[in-house]
Amino acid sequence: MSYRSRRMRKHAVGLDITAFMNLIVVLVPFLLSSTVFSRLAILELNLPASASGPVCVTEGLQLEIIIRPNALEVSDRNHGLIRRIDNNASGYDYPALSRAMQQVKTQFPDKNAATILSESNTAYDTLVQVMDAVRVTPGGGTATVELFPDISIGDAPAAGASVPQIPESTPTAKRGQSR
């Protein structure tokens, strides 16, 4: 008897975890398959209702960013070109645009609106990247500072035309998009 009890003591008390393991083995693949690893977000832009007419403000800064095939142009609708950012080897120079936007923001701290004018074959991706550069400073987390979050979108004027002529040359229906 003494031998038996000694043997019993030597054995560790084994928990039966078979049911638990079954549960986990089923649950892990199920949850893994249903998890979405790419998180989606949205960029908001508010267009004026189509009924409201075009609003022409001639005072203050009317910031416009024009996407050209070979450059990004930062301009003020009332005063013309502020800066032209030529493409570098890898395409559009978004960091330079972001720096330019930060400079403009320091000069006009209370402005929140900007208009992005793109030409007809501009890729959607380019548009979104420009929107990002105009909207917030790069950084992420608490380091991001909002620059010009109220973004409108419109047609770019022809390359040679002077910037202040867009309001007259664009039909009202199209202007619904640029405010």
Binding site: L31, S38, A41, I42, L43, Y124, Q129, D132
Partner: protein, 162 residues
Amino acid sequence: MTLTPLMKRAQRLERNKTMVDLNLVALIDIFTILIFFLLANASEVDVLPNTKAIKLPQSVADRSPKATVVVMVNNEEIVVDGRRVASVAEVMNSGAEVIDALKSELAYQSTRALINIDKKEAVARDITIMGDKDIPYHLLKKIMLTCALANYSNISFAVMKK
């Protein structure tokens, strides 16, 4: 106490048995942590549909998507809430600025919206555009103009979080 040969054999087996004891503690630890992590992730329901046909552009935007009418556009077709309304090739070839098929579909969507109690025409509705990163701006412009004309003027772009 005499043992029968069978009992002796059983005892011998018992004594000589080498227990193959898998040590599962680390595995269970990992699984438990993994389950909590996945459960926490799965709790946020994805509002926007997830398709392989569309490659969304990446952005630093952090606004979370809302449940709205979704227009999906890639280089082949325009889909509104899972229903195909027009092919991109036709839309691009026609000179019209407004996509009629999309407009009628959106008008239909606005009639079946749940919040239709106060029939104020001026209420701007929300719409989310999921565009492929390669679609050209003039296609996007046509879609946005059509949405605005159909009174869906709160337009948001769906993007992939960086």
